[in-house]
Subunit: 424 residues, 2 copies
């Protein structure tokens, strides 16, 4: 993996490989590359280091305030450098969605990995068996069917490797997960007869619960989950202190409150997008977290998000050029579906620059995104012209990240000194 | 670029790097990896070599039948191995959308590169100036504004490099391009006073013309474009034999017919998706190409698509596992927005396998795609279970490709012997 090489040179890693989006054309002696002064090829994906650090710190303190462990979902960024920063901030482990992602997390130094997903297929199982054998990690995957448990037990017995399993509990109309307590118990019982498998706890993803009474349903679902975990443990069906884990980036507060300061369980939350945040769906979700905190302040384990001070900040931008103004009200920007997420709102123009100086981007609205272009409406009076630079925020971060192999890390003056590599 | 290393080992390049989607877990002596037998980690993106070869051959013959040059748009695949195959089949050059893509095309051996887009920004211009200096290539970019021409002339004069420019002509409500013949003439005149720039012809992208009379409007637009090219050339404003170029993958037939066997121009078509094709929007577009060929057979330069024999074939699939069947009518597949395009219809289940043997996927319909999961409805009677393998076709190919760093190349038995690297 080139990732290891890059970490080695981390402090001076300058992106000047041919064919790479967002690279510099020539090295300079200072190793300082200004985005407003156009030292970097655009479009470029840019992370503001201070915002990232703020977010990592904020969520770690949030987890600590609730006495829960933070095991951030790595799928958002798939950036080993960020995994390391999350672990350095005190993360309990890294969450992933696939065996390939688990390998990246292990190579980045995670010693606990939750694959919050089913482990299915011979080669996928082989990748995980190798990982457990070769790295000193505690690995957990989810299961919600007898078929899958049988397949796992057969494979891991052959490999003489033990596999930790979390049973997944879900909701009707949701994603994976058993739909009833009876089905959960049946699987927990079955695992007792499977020599290669060890049941370690229960996993849920509450983010699939929607609708008007979502919060109430989620609280009920989480309480059920917790009761079930304790009950299975008391029945002797879970090995060791049982793990109970949930939380995406929208309802992590409700999960942390429900699982706060448990004596009898290891409680783990798994938000991912918090590290990058955005100006769209996660901005809205975080506003709701803060509103709930204000409303519930004073109740046991609730309202902590207000007490922490500060908030999450949007850390990711895509910078691009106006390449055409073919009609008085239309700009075409050199940034497209190849560069930016487009499934949760279109990119938002945050700031503009000409010759390094700020220019107004007021009134600019993205109306469509093609593979390599974004259309923007603009008032006829606007002075925006071809060659102007625009920094866009985006939602949601996962789908912008996976468009980029290298992300520029900038300071608060938008000066870049190094790039980080993504591993999608 | 690792791409060069990979080409060197091309015949034996087996994907076994940790953290890579679609890799093998262990090398085997035969270097043959069967998809139905689950030798490869899923999800995996897979190209059927015979379908790719068929498509490259078909479109090359199509261009030859019309006496036009084929300069395939490389943005679809960004796969140097495929660029080389396209050049080996007789492509005139490679089309790209950005300076980073132009570098990849040059490193893959393209000696003519059309950047069918505006070249904007100091570092982007520096990348192209270096490319022209260091590689023996003919490079062309588009322009549609005086601002851009001024910026280009200033930069390339400083670099003592000459830049070939194609003026872009467009339509009201479309993308880039001058909206009137007067604006085109004004820019052509301006270029005469710009020492670093050479006007070489006119570029259009007819794919932005939609509506009920799209074909008629496109034919009119192309005729106008051709007249304008000849007129600018006769006025001495274009250097050398003028280039006239258009065509995405939907209307390439109409462009080829309009530009067929020109004496006074170099006519170039630039379809890209044809190489991969699909079972969605480009399948529909190609059916319309064939229908037009039947209707117009016998007219001058028309109806050739029928005479060629054969047709384009869908070459790309994403293979994935059923990871959960949480409700009798619902399957969850381990493939998401991180793996497959979702902006032009959802993935279509083409074939299924269990223990290497075909199983029916009839009645399976994708209803939603999340970051790492696809939801499929299934009849209660279906025997599909966790661990079953499903091969999905997808639309459109550009946005599936950019999710993958390596693509498995399979034979007609779905056996993979090597992988190709993408360069997004």
């Amino acid at each position: 993996m080139t990732n290891r090489d890059i970490n080695y040179h981390k402090d001076s890693f300058i992106l000047n490989q041919p064919g790479q989006k967002g690279r510099v054309a020539a090295l300079n002696a200072s190793h300082q590359y200004s985005l407003p002064l156009e030292d970097i090829s655009l479009p470029a994906a840019v992370i503001k280091q201070s915002a990232l650090r703020n977010n990592l710190d904020w969520m770690q303190r949030f987890a600590q305030q609730h006495g829960v462990h933070l095991c951030p979902h790595g799928k958002t960024t798939m950036t080993p450098d960020f995994f390391q920063q999350q672990l350095d901030h005190g993360a309990w482990g890294i969450t992933v969605a696939t065996p390939a992602q688990a390998e990246v997390a292990a190579l980045a130094g995670a010693q606990r990995i939750i694959m919050a997903n089913q482990l299915v297929g011979r080669t996928n199982m082989a990748i995980i068996a190798n990982l457990i054998r070769e790295h000193d990690i505690e690995f957990f995957c989810c299961a919600d069917s007898l078929s899958n448990l049988d397949q796992l037990d057969t494979f891991f017995q052959q490999q003489s490797v033990n596999l930790n399993v979390l049973l997944e509990y879900g909701v009707e109309g949701g994603r994976c997960g058993c739909r009833t307590a009876e089905a959960m118990l049946e699987l927990a019982d079955a695992i007792q007869g499977m020599p290669a498998l060890t049941l370690r706890g229960i996993e849920v993803y509450e983010g699939v619960i929607h609708g008007d009474n979502a919060e109430q349903h989620i609280r009920h679902f989480l309480t059920e989950t917790l009761d079930m975990t304790v009950s299975l443990a008391m029945d002797g069906l879970i090995e060791g202190k049982p793990i109970v884990t949930g939380a995406g980036s929208a309802w992590y507060d409700v999960v942390a409150e429900t699982f706060a300061f448990l004596d009898r369980c290891i409680a783990v939350i798994r938000p991912g997008c918090y590290a990058i945040h955005d100006t769209g769906i996660y901005f809205d979700a975080q506003n709701k977290v803060m509103a709930r905190a204000h409303t519930n302040k004073g109740r046991e384990h609730q309202g902590k998000a207000c007490d922490l001070g500060g908030d999450l900040h949007s850390a990711l931008e895509v910078w691009a050029y106006v390449i055409s103004r073919p009609e008085p009200n239309k700009l075409v920007v050199g940034m497209g579906k190849r560069d930016v997420a487009f499934d949760a709102g279109l990119p938002i123009a945050e700031r503009g620059y000409r010759n390094g100086k700020p220019i107004s981007v007021q009134g600019l609205t993205a109306t469509a995104v093609m593979d390599q272009h974004t259309f923007i409406t603009v008032s006829e009076e606007s002075g925006i012209d071809v060659g102007d630079v625009i920094a866009f925020s985006t939602s949601h971060p996962c789908l912008t990240f996976d468009k980029w192999r290298y992300i520029a890390m900038c300071d608060d003056n938008y000066v870049v000194r190094h790039w980080v590599e993504t591993c999608f």
